[in-house]
């Protein structure tokens, strides 16, 4: 058995501001190249898990561990985690007025490899090639990051960043929310292509609905309720959830 890329063990986290407990002992393992989905009702803590993995300052880890490539991921700052290959596709990407996507991405790609100065022409070429892969218009790169973007444009911008930063682990937080079916197909198609291109990339999808999983097929599905993973299985679990809903899990005994 090879060592997992990511191992989350008994992870507990609270809202830093008021101490409300959100994660109550999460256990999860991902190997390189695997596609996992975490499903769960609103308020189950699945988005919090994504943010905690990336080091969002609004949450405080109170117990458990996260091991990434054998190292303690929780000891790293958010930017260090990113440079180590952990990528979070945001549920609500943030607007950065006045900063073009091209400029932003150039600095982000440069940050990944600080020892070597990124050639601006090489970067332009790479950016154009990646945009073509995702069927994006080149003019998109000149727009300010997420400023005035539609929901679909924001999500596509996340996938473009994923395509350029080439992480080892992509955490996708509710990538399907706010997308119509056409936009969803484009985004899912992009992720699938990137995974074909780099099959070693692990993907952790966080979603409320089964819909996304029709387009990006996970090998493993986990159900999260009240801050814990209460059941894990294969793709059939997602279909069962679609049919029966989360009702079944409402009475699941809370973590004691």
């Amino acid at each position: 058995m090879s060592e997992p890329l990511l191992r989350v063990a008994d992870l507990r986290a609270v809202v830093a501001e008021d101490g409300t407990e959100i994660l109550r002992g999460v256990d999860l393992e991902l190997k390189a190249g695997e596609i996992h989905a975490i499903m769960g009702p609103n308020g189950s803590g699945k988005s919090t898990l994504a943010k905690v993995l990336s080091g969002h300052p609004a949450y405080e880890v109170t117990g458990g561990s996260v091991t990434y490539r054998g190292e303690d991921l929780l000891a790293l700052e958010p930017d260090e985690r990113a440079r180590a290959g952990v990528f979070l596709a945001f549920q609500y990407p943030v607007e950065i007025p006045g900063v073009s996507i091209a400029n932003f991405l150039r600095l982000a790609v440069q940050a990944k490899n600080p020892a070597e100065e990124l050639d601006i022409f090489d970067f332009q070429e790479l950016l154009l090639e990646r945009m073509q892969l995702l069927e994006m218009d080149p003019s998109f790169a000149e727009r300010a990051v997420n400023d005035g973007f539609s929901g679909g444009e924001k999500k596509r911008n996340e996938i473009l960043q994923l395509a350029l930063l080439e992480p080892a682990l992509a955490v996708m937080d509710e990538t399907d929310s706010g997308l119509d079916i056409d936009a969803l197909k484009i985004v899912a198609n992009g992720v699938n292509r990137l995974h074909e291109e780099r099959p070693e990339m692990a993907v952790l999808m966080i979603t409320h609905y089964q819909r996304l999983l029709n387009y990006i097929e996970p090998e493993f599905v986990h159900v999260m309720v009240s801050g814990r993973i209460v059941r894990s299985g294969g793709p059939e679990l997602a279909l069962e959830l679609e049919e029966k809903g989360y009702e079944l899990y409402r009475d699941e005994p809370a973590a004691v």
């Binding site: 990336s54 080091g55 969002h56 300052p57 609004a58 700052e77 958010p78 930017d79 985690r81 990113a82 440079r83 990528f87 979070l88 945001f90 990407p93 943030v94 607007e95 950065i96 007025p97 006045g98 900063v99 932003f104 600095l107 982000a108 940050a111 990944k112 300010a144 990051v145 960043q161 930063l165």
Partner: protein, 471 residues
């Protein structure tokens, strides 16, 4: 990083223009302001009688006017004014070639990169050192087109009629206390005339340097852009860092004749011991365009509101203002537009950044007179606060007498948000890089209007100031 450590790391001591040059001035007036000093200045300049009278009258107005009670804290200024020198003549005459400028003064401007910029990108350069222009030169191709680019003193001597017709007409001495002061003791500054239809493609630049401790600099600039002409004038300012305060109070008068387009850019980076109180105003005639691009980065206190008087039908005025207030600095800046004629349009866009204990105030006046039919104006002021101790205020005065006027006003205050920082950091940028990127994006609408070299310099300054600045 803990907040206190952050504040200690703000890097304001990295002001790179704070060096002092040892020189030998040829004349230094006594400290403080008096009729005698005013007469001495006039005598040194060998002025006609009317100018001496103008100065003395202005001195009377200055003495009669109270210190303004609004704007920044001027309580330390009166004491400063008793201590400073109002006139200091650095060399005997103004030179046309850098070779003839005394070596120590020339070296100062070399260190500021002025001769280099002149060779590469400018149509002409004026350099003021203490109270006088020590160098003024215009490239031959522009001289041949009849452009006048002179020190203000030479303007008065060589073009007495053109000078007298316009001098003091845009900013009369009684306009405000500091305009009166400048009118009494003015020295140095430029006289510019762009002939009808001439378009100057590269900028003219004036650079203002105060070297001595406790010196007041009172330059006066008069610019006439004749019908259909087009030009861009840039001024830059720096001074050494002293423990005592200095004082800079300029007056800029611009007449933009019908159909002309004029842009005046200021990149003020005075040291943090400078009171900077400046009156800048343009009269804009039929279908002419005036643009002020006002960058205030330095000084202890700046009070400056570039203004456009839209007196001709279809005139357009634009004021782009960017202010940066670091620890202990107060930038009280903004703009003023007065719509007098019909179908006039204007825009004010102000962006300010306050860091540490810095304070940035937007102060603006928009006035539309009865009869300025269909006047249109849009005012937008945005403030960005970097710390809980940073401060911003907005004082927008709007006076509309004309019913058909269409006026918009928007103001916003924001902080560098945790979510923005986290988003950028989650892509691998360090906290400092992320904060600098947010600030660069914030000022981008104005930075993009700057000549490339200035935009680069502005970004470099911001990056320097942003190091370790996020708590």
């Amino acid at each position: 990083m803990p907040y206190n450590e952050t504040v200690a790391n703000l890097g304001l001591e990295e002001y790179k223009y704070g060096f002092v040059t040892k020189d030998k001035p040829v004349f230094k007036a006594q400290r403080g302001l008096s009729e005698e000093v005013v007469r001495q200045i006039s005598a040194h300049k060998d002025e006609p009688e009317w100018m001496l009278k103008f100065r003395l009258k202005a001195l009377g107005i200055y003495n009669a006017k109270p210190m303004p009670k609004w704007g920044g804290d001027l309580s330390g200024l009166e004491e400063t004014m008793d201590q400073i020198y109002f006139y200091l003549k650095p060399q005997e005459r103004m030179e046309r070639s850098w070779e003839d400028v005394p070596p120590e003064i020339k070296e100062t401007f070399e260190r500021l990169g002025i001769p280099e910029a002149e060779r590469r990108v400018l149509a002409g350069v004026g350099a003021q050192y203490e109270s006088e222009m020590v160098y003024h030169s215009l490239k031959k191709e522009w001289e041949e087109k009849g452009i006048i680019f002179e020190s203000i003193e030479n303007g008065l001597k060589l073009y007495p009629d053109l000078f007298r017709e316009h001098f003091g007409t845009v900013v009369p001495p009684a306009d405000n206390k500091f305009a009166a002061l400048n009118s009494a003791v003015w020295s140095g500054g430029s006289f510019v005339y762009i002939p009808k239809g001439v378009k100057v493609e590269t900028p003219l630049q004036a650079y203002f340097r105060v070297n001595s401790e406790q010196l007041g600099q009172f330059e006066r600039t008069l610019i006439i852009a004749d019908e259909g002409s087009q030009a861009h004038y840039i001024e830059g300012c720096t001074a050494p860092v002293y423990s005592t305060d200095s004082f800079h109070s300029g007056v800029i008068e611009i007449i933009v004749k019908p159909g002309a387009r004029f842009r005046y850019t200021t990149i003020q980076n005075w040291s943090n011991n400078m009171y900077n109180l400046v009156t800048q105003r343009a009269l804009v005639h039929e279908h002419a365009h005036m643009e002020w691009l006002d960058g205030n980065l330095g000084s202890k206190l700046t009070m400056k509101y570039p203004s456009c008087y839209l007196v001709g039908e279809g005139a357009h005025g634009q004021i782009l203002s960017i202010a940066y207030a670091g620890d202990g600095q107060h930038q009280d800046t903004g703009g003023k537009v007065v719509h007098v004629a019909p179908n006039t349009t204007s825009q004010i866009l102000s962006k300010s950044i306050s860091k540490g204990t810095g304070r940035a105030s937007y102060r603006g006046l928009l006035k539309v007179y009865d009869g300025a039919k269909n006047a249109k104006s849009n005012v937008e002021c945005d403030a960005l606060l970097l710390h809980d101790t940073s401060r911003t205020d907005t004082f927008p005065y709007i006076e509309i007498e004309e019913h058909s006027a269409n006026v918009g006003h928007e103001a916003s205050v924001s902080k560098i948000g945790e979510e923005q920082l986290f988003y950028l950091m989650s892509r691998g940028l360090s906290e400092d890089e992320a904060a600098a990127m947010i600030v660069r994006g914030f000022i981008e609408p104005i930075a993009r209007e700057l000549p490339l070299e200035y935009a680069v310099e502005l970004n470099r300054l911001i990056e320097l100031e942003m190091e370790g600045s996020v708590g």
